[in-house]
Amino acid sequence: MSITVQAVNHGIRDKLRRLGWRNPEWWVVMAAAVAWLFMAGISRTHASHTGISTGRDHVQGTLGIVAMVIAMMVPLTITNVRHVAQSSLWRRRHRAIAGFLVGYLAVWLVVQTIIVETWGLLAPLIGWGTAGGVAMVAAALWEIAPSKRQRLRRCHRTVPLAPRGWRADADCAHYGVSTGFSCVMMCWALMVAAAAFSHSLVVMTILFGVQVSGRYQRRPSPVLAALAVLGVCLLALAADSLITMAGQSHSMH
């Protein structure tokens, strides 16, 4: 009996080990999942707000930016992460992934911080509703822009990596940076929209879906993507207006 159990355990262990060999990106996927859980948690504790915008709590704001980038952008790089791992010596493959992510996240954290800070400064000046509308239209237009389509394939680019030493680390980080720039050129408008409507996890989830579709679909439909962006942002604007009106009505009474 115990021999059978041991054999089963051994079989499961072997399968898990092979799964890890074939999918070196497993911990990157888990990190993205944790980031989504973190954002969902913030969203729940702060009513309808994910806490990503700058404001009173800078620590929470920074954590929110980090979580948002890991949740929304890192899953788009799974093929790049696999390329880095498979192109590295076995003993270096997770280190190579880490190097790639350092470069990639560095680009996005800077860009996302600029987006959020700029949003925090500009939106109150021109009005949250107007700013949200501008962000929404810009994101929808960018989805159908030919220049976006021209850049789509660049995110899939692979590069040769040095096999060992500091050059290997530098190549991985550089590949992360260049992939990050390609992704920024593709997704900047959606990330502005995500920042503009960061009060809703639903908005971010749908925008994330648009990003994933654009990245991995055979022939992504720009019109459908633009309509999805417009639809979800309009719903968010409507929900925001209703909440505001309900709040005003409540205070009047």
């Binding site: 092979r18 394939r153 096999p163």
Partner: protein, 487 residues
């Protein structure tokens, strides 16, 4: 049942205008007369494969730039494409009063008993038809020297070599790690760029650039123009035939991928009424609807006597389980060494040394015979460039310095043809700019080197020799890296 026949066995060199070829020419003339926006026109059909026309100028709903390369969809996509083309040509021939059983011929250029077959079939070389009318099968934008293809020049024997492709035992490589197998690597939809399958590499790529030339590249040398040359369709019919021939080999049995991700992939070719949307699963047996064709001959005389062919070709092996993955595809490759710098592919031979480490992952733990890997792969990665100086490069492993490569044929890993390199080096809507990657199963080469005492487990030397040189200098093609994988 339609029968696709060898173009070199239709008619004779003195009188090559067999009715099958004559009707093909007449149909092409008719297709060329149709507007580009007509889905049955010559230019529209060619654009499905590739086009330089900007997307904003495409007809509404066009599925242009659709050809699949560097992908395990390379063979099924082109089979669907040829089916669509053949159907339109046949219908046109019927409309012109021709036979209703017309089938696309194939160009079998790799028969060692008929070296003439490496020349372009005569009906495709003459600018005029016997009637004195312009010959629609003739294209002037072809290789003009070495070989002068329109004047009967022959492709090099190495250009049409099928041994390496036919020796592959797995249709695709393990996972999506860039090792390609016979039919191409596991990918999603992929127009161009990335690792290239063995058959797509040679003879497919070599014949493209051998016919089209490379200084300057002719119609057959570019994805965007290849299908404008009438010989393109006969070349791809032969590639399709070689897929059948590969499957017909036994010991071990060759099998198509069994993954649903491959079998259920669907491709739409064309537009409007004649358009076809077919899954890979639907085109695996050519003798069944909707395809309904067979080849007059799927034997492989070029491989005799070593090739072991099945007495009867069965697409679905009764022993294979749906969804099961062949053993080769279960292997997990492990990189054990790579070059430190880019490797120029120039007019002169280039040599690169690779430091090799002892495997520490699956190749060590799962080696069937201790530390000996079951498979050894050589990869030439990210081959990029904008100007070619040679049509292809022969790749040798541990070739002694200064040695005559001809005396070390057993150390040849394969060839790196330049077809597709220019396209895959571009960074635009269709291309990532990664270039092409070539993987070679060199398990046999390494075994022979071991037996000869010339295998150093810590160091590998790889030599690239240009097959033909168009100019003494110039060209900017290079390989990003040369790497070694154990599995």
């Amino acid at each position: 049942m339609f029968e696709r026949r060898d173009v070199w066995k239709l008619g004779s060199e003195a009188d090559p205008w067999d009715p099958i070829i004559r009707w093909y020419a007449r149909a092409i003339t008719a297709l060329k007369g149709r507007a580009r926006t007509n889905p049955t026109s010559w230019r529209y059909l060619a654009a499905i494969h590739g086009t330089f026309i900007q997307r904003s100028d495409w007809p509404q709903g066009a599925t242009w730039n659709g050809c699949q390369h560097s992908s395990w969809f390379f063979l099924p996509w082109h089979r669907i494409y040829l089916h669509y083309f053949e159907h339109i040509v046949r219908r046109t021939i019927v409309d012109l009063g021709g036979p209703d059983d017309w089938a696309l011929p194939y160009w079998d250029y790799n028969d060692p008993q008929r070296p003439n077959a490496r020349s372009l079939p005569p009906a495709f070389r003459d600018p005029q038809m016997p009637s004195g009318d312009p010959n629609p099968l003739f294209v002037s934008e072809r290789s003009q020297q070495n070989p002068d293809i329109n004047n009967g020049g022959r492709l090099d024997a190495l250009d049409v070599e099928i041994g390496a492709a036919m020796a592959e035992t797995s249709f695709t490589g393990p996972s999506d790690d860039g090792i390609a197998g016979f039919g191409g690597p596991i990918t999603d939809w992929n127009h161009s760029g990335g690792p290239v399958g063995s058959l797509e590499r040679t003879p497919h790529g070599n014949v493209h650039i051998g016919v089209g030339g490379f200084q300057p590249p002719g119609l057959m040398s570019r994805f965007e123009t290849a299908a404008l040359d009438p010989i393109f369709w006969l070349h791809h019919a032969n590639i399709d035939r070689l897929w059948e021939a590969w499957l017909g080999q036994v010991d071990p049995d060759r099998q198509n991928p069994r993954r649903a991700r491959w079998r259920d992939a669907s491709f739409k070719v064309g537009q409007g009424a004649p358009a076809v949307t077919l899954t890979v699963r639907e085109v695996l047996d050519t003798t069944q609807p909707p395809l309904n064709y067979k080849y007059s001959d799927v034997s492989l005389p070029a491989l005799a006597p070593d090739a072991v062919l099945a007495a009867r070709f069965d697409v679905e092996s009764v022993f294979a389980e749906e969804g099961a993955v062949p053993e080769d595809e279960e292997l997990v490759p492990e990189m054990v060494g790579a070059s430190e710098n880019r490797v120029p592919l120039a007019a002169e031979p280039t040599e690169v040394e690779v430091a090799v480490e002892t495997p520490s992952g699956p190749a060590l733990r799962e080696g069937a015979e201790g530390p000996q890997p079951r498979k050894v792969y050589l990869k030439v990665e990210n081959v990029r460039g904008k100007e070619l100086v040679a049509p292809s490069y022969l790749v040798y492993v541990n070739l002694p310095p200064g040695a005559d490569p001809a005396t070390y044929e057993d150390r040849r890993a394969g060839q790196v043809p330049m077809f597709g390199v220019l396209e895959a080096s571009e960074s635009d809507e269709e291309h990532s700019g990664s270039g092409l990657t070539f993987s070679f199963d060199i398990t046999g080469v390494v075994q022979r080197l071991r037996e000869a005492g010339d295998w150093d487990p810590q160091r590998l030397r790889v030599t690239f020799i240009p097959a033909r040189v168009g100019a003494e200098q110039g060209g900017d093609v290079s390989a990003g890296r040369v790497s070694l994988y154990y599995a």
